[in-house]
Amino acid sequence: MVIMENISNIKQKNIIEIKNVSFKYGEEENLAVKNVNLNIKKGEFISILGHNGSGKSTLAKLINSILLPFEGEVIVKGMNTKDKENLWKIRSTAGMVFQNPDNQLVGTVVEEDVAFGPENQGVEPNLIRKIVDESLKKVGMFEFRKRPPHLLSGGQKQRISIAGVLALNSECIILDEPTAMLDPEGRKEVMDTIKMLNKKQDKTIVLITHFMDEAVEGDRVVIMDEGQVKLEGSPREVFSKVDKIKKYGLDIPQVTELSEELRKEGINLSDNIIHIEELVNQLCP
């Protein structure tokens, strides 16, 4: 019994622990992040949703020590972000992909950019070549390795940035609104890549977004507003709270909203419908 418990504990280990964290920017009065508590398990796919200004991006930057908490602690794989010694190890463990596809790419050709991370880590040159090739293959961009970034589409650029993080051998990938500036095709490319990395490569994914249809893909959803965590749970649990979600400035899938409206009128439907098939099957058994 004890052995089973220990095994499940290992599986369930927290890779990121956010403990009573508060943060404010410079001279500002208001706390951008207010007393947030959140644990993220290894291998989990968690989405953090919120309108602009809700604190979600700030929270993301607190995880990989771009920002340091004003109060409370952020622990990444056992390392405290406040500890200067841990800085580079933390950033290697939790890599980050940002919103603007152009403003993250530093190399003049794709493979040079993906090599940037390992080069900074002082990895041996021959090994870097291998790492770069593998990372590009994982995101399906190996054929583009000699291209200059300005000739790529938005979705392709973001995949390169993801490859750049993979090259750091990060266990956890934080993505700060990675699809906000992309067209539907690009969004799909990026989401497919993220899902694959989570399912097949066991990467922990922290997705910051305001798109419900992206959050639906994850294991857990956290909704933030005014710097605090307001709702937390599985996508189904969270999306069923239609009115609350609207209050927090977010959208819900049309099917969820329609189901809620029908329920209010007395139609017998479950309260956590997020896919079209569910509504259709319940209305037309």
Partner: protein, 287 residues
């Protein structure tokens, strides 16, 4: 009076082995007062098409006639065309440059060489149209504003030209849901209040369905389909085949019909869908 294209063709890398037709024989007519949507995947030619509406690009073959003036005619004054057709690009907040909101919005009218009083009136008019309190906003630096606010200032900058037609390229790009709703509501109000003809380019089927009364579907440079939302969205299979979608509500209604619930599938918003479903369900249970 309208914007009309006649066999409009535009080529990239003309004369080389890489020659491609960004626009292939496009024939459309957008009449005054309409609210039109242009949809198409990336690379379908949407951006190229709208740049012909205000003369930023000129056709290689065919013609574009704006309020009777042909782009092929050398005598046509482009400045006049740009006054008639206002074009707001994607992420227009990146074009702000002045020290105050007033000055930035006044840039357009200034280029038209209007007198100070007229410029003043227009700036007030434009800022009001996009929902700002003129006194509060006019002296602020555009760079101090939030993303959504900046975007509205940029749109005001084009509205100050008092265009008869307003073209908006993905006006909700990069905004969060509340930002999107705000901009779309403003555009709706704009169309109602000032009767401006609005041409909306968007990827979002939901946004288009909500606002427009006619849709043009572009695919690989060609005009693939056109019609009212009802007509266009009833072809959901075809739209999906060319890489576009339909508003989720349309999918829902179609699925329900397929499964035996005889609902009208020409519905694009949630309230109507709810009412229709209730109608059919309650109708059935009365039988």
């Amino acid at each position: 009076m309208s914007i009309k294209t006649k066999n409009l063709t535009f080529k990239y890398s003309e004369g080389t082995q890489f020659e491609t037709k960004a626009l292939d024989n496009i024939n459309i007519e957008i009449k005054k007062g309409e609210f039109v949507g242009i949809i198409g995947h990336t690379g379908s030619g949407k951006s190229t098409l709208i740049q012909h509406f205000n003369g930023l690009m000129k056709p290689d073959e065919g013609d574009v006639i704006i309020e009777g003036k042909s782009l092929k005619d050398k005598k046509t004054k482009l400045k006049l065309i740009r006054q008639t057709v206002g074009l707001v690009f994607q992420y227009p907040e990146y074009q702000l440059f002045e020290e105050t909101v007033y000055a930035d919005v006044a840039y357009g009218p200034k280029n038209l060489e209007l007198d100070e009083n007229e410029i003043n009136d227009r700036v007030k008019y434009a800022l009001d149209l996009v929902g700002f309190n003129y006194e509060e906003i006019k002296d602020r630096s555009p760079f101090d504003l939030s993303g959504g606010q900046k975007r509205r200032v940029a749109i005001a900058g084009v509205l100050a030209m008092k265009p008869k037609y307003l073209v908006l390229d993905e006006p909700t790009a990069g905004l969060d849901p509340s930002g999107r709703n705000e901009i779309l509501s403003q555009i709706e109000r704009l169309h109602e209040k000032s009767k401006i003809t609005v041409i909306l380019v968007s990827h979002s089927m939901e946004d288009i369905a909500r606002l427009v009364n006619y849709i043009y579907v572009l695919n690989k440079g060609k005009l693939h389909m056109e019609g009212t939302p009802k007509e266009v969205y009833s072809n959901s299979e075809e739209l999906k085949r060319i890489g576009l979608g339909v508003p989720q509500i349309v999918d829902i209604m179609k699925e329900l019909k397929y499964k035996g619930l005889m609902v009208d599938t020409n519905i694009f918003n949630i309230q109507d869908a709810k009412n229709e479903i209730l109608r059919v369900i309650r109708g059935n249970s009365n039988v």
